[in-house]
């Protein structure tokens, strides 16, 4: 293996449970419940997951939730808008720290 991220590794995700099966089972049960239809539809949850996958820059998650969103009936324009939401929050999160910068300028400036 010459890279940290290797596409076939996604299928090996359940292997993580081998050395801590009880924790894995709890994770999987919770994960499955999270994505089941509730107050939000399965499609809305898949789109949130897709946006978050981009924000945390997880290639495995982007792979999984691109297919997942399509299979829940999301369209490419909806998926692209979801990623823009993630990008806007990331951009906004950077920019809002400028308030901290401005506070510091005020404090140490004359």
């Amino acid at each position: 293996m010459d890279t940290y991220y290797h596409p076939p590794d996604l299928a090996k995700f359940p292997d993580v449970g081998k050395d801590a099966p009880e924790l894995w089972d709890r994770f999987l049960g919770w994960y499955t419940a999270v994505f089941a239809e509730g107050a939000l539809t399965e499609r809305e949850k898949a789109l949130i997951a897709l946006a978050v996958a981009h924000a945390v820059q997880c290639p495995y998650c982007i792979d999984a939730y691109t297919s997942g969103s399509l299979e829940k009936g999301a369209t490419p324009d909806q998926m692209t808008e979801a990623v823009h939401v993630a990008a806007a929050i990331r951009g906004g999160a950077t920019l809002v720290h400028a308030v901290q910068m401005r506070n510091k300028i005020e404090k140490i400036g004359m």
Partner: protein, 348 residues
Amino acid sequence: MALATLLNTRNPLAAPAVQRARLEALPLRRTFDGALASAGHQVLTRGRTRVLQMNLGKRCNQVCHHCHVDAGPDRTEVMPDEVVDATLDVLDLSGVGTLDITGGAPEIHPRFRDIVSRARAMGRHVMDRCNLTITTLPNYASLPEFLAAHSVEIVASLPAYAPAQTDRQRGVGVFESSLAALRRLNALGYGREGTGLVLNLVTNPVGAFLPASQRALERDWKRELARRYDVEFNRLFTITNMPISRYLEWLERSGNLSAYMEKLVQAFNPATVEGLMCRDTISVAWDGRLFDCDFNQMLDLPVDARGPRTIAELRNAPDLLSWPVVTGPHCFGCTAGAGSSCGGATTA
């Protein structure tokens, strides 16, 4: 880009035997029969035939990327008169209630209207698997009125309510042309409540993934087609793309074949087995041979050799009741997720 049939481009995958060999060579984690056995079905058997599906031939005015028939304008296979007559005889003599007419574009067949008229005169329910755009061609301009006059159920293909996705799968300009056809059908009463004229739409995923929930999509489609285009329809059927002919070729070329087949295998749903269409449908090929479904027809996998093998032989036989269904790796397409059939999802 103009699309071409596999046959026209001399692609080896035009041959059903080559397609079967490619599918059989895939290292899948289990066989279809193994999956059935795990669901408690040692052998998949046919029940009473309720639907007679007639494939009138491979000629079509479109050349869609995902077509399992490899249909197109260059195809010459057309059902001859003797096969048409034998099929209508079987329909008349049997208790089969539904005639499902498919192709290619079945309306191109010179006897399409005769077949419809005679089947309706027998009191049979008739379904036309229509690509929509055929009704916008000058020679077929009166087709919608004819279908309405005979109360034919229209099952029309439209992969997406967004133009780009539809055109990517079915060819440039197909969405606009399909929309014009839908508006005309609506104007005749098709898809409108209380008219009795049924217009169902069929969507296949535009790519290597499974269809979304039929119920959820139908809700969206009804809302969006009405809001964007003032178009109405009755039901939406989601159909899984089958790894056959041009879709198989695309899966291979795009490097998606193994992952897609694994996805189908992994998504095997035992609850779909009861509703598989091969259990109550008999598929008649343009040349009169019998198949358990249209997909088996394209892979050249005829019905079990112990029963009648042609429509002419079926005319003298009672039924295909309890014969085993012929299966292969492609059958995972009908058992994945919510299931898939010519009538959409089989569990919902």
